[in-house]
Amino acid sequence: MSAAQPSPSFDPTEVRARFALDYIHDRHRRLIAGEEVIVHCHHYNSRIQRTVEGAAGIDGKTIFRSAARNSFVRHIAAGFQDGDPESTRWAVAQELFAELGYGTLDLSDPSSDTVRQTAGHFVEGWGAAFNDEAKPVCTLAEGYIEAAYMAVRGESVEVRETECMHCGASSCGFSVRRGAEAWSPPAISERIEAVSTEADAELAESNIDENAIINAVVGLPIRGGDDGLIPAFGVYLANTPADFYNQVAIEFVEAMTECGQREIASRLLSEAGESCAMNTFRGIMDSAEWEGLVKPMLQNPEDTIFALVALSNAFGWGNWRITEHEPGETLEIVSFNGYEALGFLETRGRASEPQCWMLQGVSAGMMALVYGEGSFSERFGTYLADEHDCIAKGNSVCAFAVEES
C-alpha cells in the first residue's frame, strides 16, 4: 500500500466527526462541513435522475455527472484539515460519501484503475421504482469519484461505471481513466440569503407542534450506517448539496429550452416533485416515526398537511409556511428561502419565470396524497400548483397556490 492510500488505521469516527450536522433553526437550513444539504429520499433522487437522463435530445447523463463533480469537489475539500496527509484526504472523501447516505465507496487504492461500490443509494432507488430498466445507474458516484481525485490530488480523471448492482452485479465497478480533459472546480457563487422572513398574508394555524417535529428530525442521525445508507421513515434518505440539485435542474431546463422543450422540462421537474410528495410522504405517514410522534398531534385531516410542511422544513427544502388552507379544496403556501429560487439567483441572476419546480410539484402532491382518492396514478395531477411569486423573479417570497384541477 502506497502512502497515497487511505491509512488502514484511520479512525472513521474521527473523520465522520468532521461532518457533524449544523442545523440553522431560524432558516431551516442543514449544513454539513459548511455546505448546505437537502434531505431527499431514494425515490425522488432516482426519479429526478431518470427524468434528466431519459430526456431525448440532450446529454442528461453529463448534466447529472458534472453537477455531482462540481458540487462535491468543494464539499470533499471542506472536510480537509490543515496538515492532513493525502491518505487522510482519501479517507475524508470515502467517509463523506457514506456519511451523506450514498453508500459504500472503496477509495482505499486510488492508484488503481478501478473503484468499487458495495452499496448504493441510487441502486436502491432504481431497484424500488424502475426495476424494468437494466442499465448502470450510479452517475452521481461517477461525478463524486472524479471530484474526489480533483479534491485530493488536483487530478482530472474520467470515471465511468462499468458494472452496476442494478444490473445484477455483486458490486458496482467504476473505471478511472487518467489523462482526462482537464477541468477546474467552479468558482463559488456569492450566497444569497432570504430577503424576507414575513409573509404578507397571515399564517394559518393548526394543531401541529412544528418545533417538536423539527427537533425530532434534527435529532435523528440522518447519516449513513455501516453500509453508507440511511433507512428512515420507510425510505432511504440522502443528504445532497443544494448546489447539485440546482445545477441539475437549471442545466436541464436550459438544455431542453435549446431543443424547444422548455415547457416539458419544467413540467417533468414538477412531476418529479409531485411523485416525491406522494411516494415519500406516504411512506413517512406509514412509518413508526409518524406513528410515534406525529399521529398523536393530528386532530383533523388538514393537520396532516401542516405536519408534512414541518417535515419539509426539517429536511431543508425551504422555510415553508401555510397562509391559507381550505381542506380538500385549496392550499396557499409561501417559502422564504427555497433552495431552487436562491440557487437560480446565485448562478443566473434575476429570472423571468418562477424556478421552484420541486416545491411546486410537492405542494400539489401533498394535497393529492391527503385528500385524493384511488391509486397513486389516479390521484396524480388531480391538484394543480401555480407558483405565482418567486424570489428568483424578484419577489420577496415564493408563493404557491394549489387547487383541484
Partner: protein
Amino acid sequence: MTHRERVYACIHPETYKYYLPRNLVLSTWKRLERQYGAAVTTPGFGVVEIRTPAFLLRSTRMLNPITVIRRRACSSEGLASLHQLLHFDEQAYPAHDSP
C-alpha cells in the same frame, strides 16, 4: 397468533406490520434481540429499531405492531426464520410473500 397488514414503504414493496398477541410482545422482542442484536431507540420520534442487513424491524415505544422492511440481503430462509420468531404462520397469510 400474529397477523400482519401490508403497508407502504419505498424501500421494499413487500412491507408489513406484524401485530403480535399482547402476551407475546416482550418475549418476542427478547427473541429478536437475541437473534439480531440489541434494539435501539431513536431520540425524538421514539422509534424502537433493530437493523440487520436483511431487515429493518421497527416499532413505536408500544413495541407492537412491528414493521418489517426487507432489505437487499433478505432471503427466503431469513424471512422464514424471522416469521418463526414473530410467531407468524405463513400458511395463514400466504399473499405477496416472496422476498
